[in-house]
């Protein structure tokens, strides 16, 4: 690299050192780049093309123009309800999940004994594989033999039929999703955020006569807004994609009560093998997710506060 000295002095585009650096950069990036082109970009474009076709895997795709779009937007009786249901799930789940995780993090950030023990206790449910969590919640909330209803009956409280009742199935699913995520990474992220609040800000606020509530409202909360925003974006993206828990616990039922857009796409793709139709559903759904994320990014300027600029 003795010659690199003179070359770097000019930093021109064509200098051998820079060219070599660029070459190595692409060499090291190549596994991801190949994967991106072969497994993301290529398939992404292919699925976009599929949306204009009728394709059942056995016979070659048949071009039908905007047929799938028209069918979905005007004839598919399950499409709008499944979108609405997915939003309903997210609107119930995301705020509760964020408030829940933040509450647990604040509890763990107070002067309690046995912090590590409780952190472990809260964290454990998030480790349970979703399939296992769904299986065990179906059992816990079994209308006839489940421990929850046995307990409610003992106390003389009328017991709902939970996953078996169309009105209760979705809220029960929300409850289950809360159990398996409130104490997980989201809580740890909040905990790290809380611990990152500079101690001197609390001291300054105390000297100014702020009580505990005011310190929380005017010091902790503003400083946590970037963390809340981060969790909100991730929370909405994952909530809208709800699939496995509903698929294992209720298979979309009863009476379509938990038939989310993820299940709708799955059914068309892998049970009816309507690949073109399913790809169209997936793309419409992707547009919704991406525009929501961009919208949040725009709105964030109004409420997210970055300490020390940036």
């Amino acid at each position: 690299m003795a010659m690199a000295g003179t070359a770097s002095a000019r930093r021109s585009r064509g200098s051998p050192a820079l060219r070599r650096e660029a070459w190595w950069g692409y060499v090291f990036m190549s596994p991801w780049l190949i994967g991106f082109v072969g497994l993301t970009l290529g398939p992404g474009l292919a699925s976009l093309i599929l949306t204009f076709t009728r394709y059942n895997v056995l016979r070659p795709p048949e071009f039908i123009g905007l047929g799938n779009y028209v069918d979905i937007l005007t004839r598919d009786e399950l499409f709008y309800p499944s979108i609405a249901r997915t939003f309903y799930f997210s609107i119930l789940f995301v705020p509760l999940a964020i408030v829940g995780s933040l509450t647990l993090a604040m509890l763990l950030n107070s002067h309690i004994r046995g912090k590590v023990f409780f952190r472990t206790l809260f964290f454990m449910p998030s480790l349970v594989p979703i399939v296992a969590a769904a299986v065990l919640w179906v059992w816990l909330f079994n209308p006839d033999w489940g421990i929850v209803n046995q307990g409610l009956r003992t106390l003389g409280i009328p017991a709902p039929r939970w996953f078996a009742d169309p009105r209760w199935a979705l809220p029960t699913l929300v409850l289950m999703s809360l159990w398996s995520s409130v104490g997980g990474t989201r809580m740890i992220i909040f905990l790290a955020g809380l611990q990152g609040v500079p101690e001197e800000l609390y001291e300054a606020a105390s000297i100014d006569g702020a009580n505990a509530w005011q310190r929380g409202r005017h010091v902790t909360l503003p400083l946590l807004t970037p963390t809340i925003f981060f969790n909100l974006v991730l929370g909405i993206i994952s909530a809208l994609q709800v699939f496995t828990s509903a698929f294992v616990a209720t298979r979309g039922g009863p009476a379509y009560a938990t038939w989310f857009i993820g299940l709708h796409i799955y059914k068309h793709a892998f049970e009816y093998f309507n690949m073109g139709y399913a790809a169209t559903l997936a793309w419409l759904f992707a547009v919704v997710i991406v525009s929501l994320t961009i919208l949040q990014q725009r709105l964030s300027a109004r409420w997210v506060f970055y300490y020390g600029g940036q």
């Binding site: 660029a22 070459w23 060499v27 398939p43 004994r113 594989p129 299986v135 990474t185 997936a282 994320t293």
Partner: protein
């Protein structure tokens, strides 16, 4: 932590001050006591479902359906576990899951490390755009890519093989993993690279001999998260594998829920289902016990601020 208490009592000299500070202290103690109660209630609520899973797995089905439920099995039915393994290919499924992880995880770590190294240490045209594109891929709903990927792997004749579950791991290892490792490499001083460069080391040697040893904590975190991700993954194995012998543990467990009763005897299968759920969760909890701090590390590494 205890610092504020001592300052308060040091300032409080006059009796009036003292009683005020004592009141404040008592209030503090009550708040702390209430916090303990709340934490305890939450702790119980969170752990009860897990406790009940294990307890259910050790009862007979008659006991599970008795009028007053037994929180603790009257006689622990350890035999439920061998029975589960005897009537279902549970051992096979667990082994399959471990095999998929053994084939996917090294690739995920290797390719993510390489890509992270490129993003963190080299300057080249297009790097920043590629980086943003990579972060953007995290936003794409999985369904959009699953359909064309399924069709692609179907063309390759990869249905009912483990290739769709392992080969992609060798190609980048996931945006989040790359991002995490890139952040970590950025925190390692460049002087170390440059010193090695002076000694005539090439990029591969710098990565392997200088950076990778320093990246141990990050790599362990990534490995732990990768293990969990693959172990818990349901949708991929579910669409690519449709022979019971090939199932991973997650798909196998889902498969068990399909039948309400045990085929041979006609008895309810709830106790065995709970045993299966326990068996599937056990490896993850074991991993957690040994690598607890790496979970926290993963969050810290991701930088939160983004």
């Amino acid at each position: 932590m205890g610092g504020s208490d001592t300052t308060v009592s040091a300032i409080a000299i006059s009796p009036a001050h003292r009683s005020a500070s004592e009141r404040a202290r008592r209030k503090q103690r009550i708040v702390l006591g209430l916090t303990h109660v709340v934490v305890l209630v939450f702790g119980l609520a969170f752990s009860f479902p897990l406790f009940w899973t294990v307890s259910s797995s050790l009862q007979t089905w008659q006991e599970l359906r008795s009028y007053t439920p037994h929180l603790i099995p009257s006689v622990p039915q350890w035999g439920n576990y061998p029975r589960l393994f005897a009537i279902q290919p549970m051992a096979r499924w667990l082994l399959n899951s471990f095999m998929v992880i053994a084939a996917a995880l090294p690739g995920q770590i290797l390719s993510a490390t390489m890509t992270a190294y490129a993003f963190a240490r080299f300057r080249y045209p297009g790097r920043d755009i590629w980086f943003i594109i990579m972060l953007g891929t995290m936003m794409i709903p999985s369904q959009v890519l699953l359909i064309p990927q399924y069709l692609l792997f179907n063309q390759f004749g990869w249905i009912n093989t483990y290739y769709p579950l392992t080969v992609p791991s060798w190609l980048g290892g996931g945006a989040f993993t790359i991002f995490l490792l890139r952040q970590f490499i950025m925190s390692i001083p460049r002087d170390l690279d440059e010193a090695a460069l002076m000694d005539g080391a090439g990029p591969f040697r710098i990565l392997w001999q200088v950076l990778v040893p320093l990246m141990q904590p990050a790599l362990t975190t990534v490995a732990v998260l990768g293990f969990l991700g693959t172990w818990n993954d349901f949708f991929g194995p579910f669409i690519y594998l449709n022979r019971a012998r090939l199932f991973t543990a997650a798909v196998g467990l889902q498969f068990l829920t399909a039948a309400e009763r045990i085929e041979t005897t006609g008895e309810p299968r709830d106790h065995l289902l709970m045993a299966a759920a326990t068996v599937m969760t056990l490896p993850v909890l074991t991993l957690f016990v040994f690598a607890q701090r790496h979970f926290v590390q993963g969050v810290v590494l991701s930088g939160i601020k983004m």
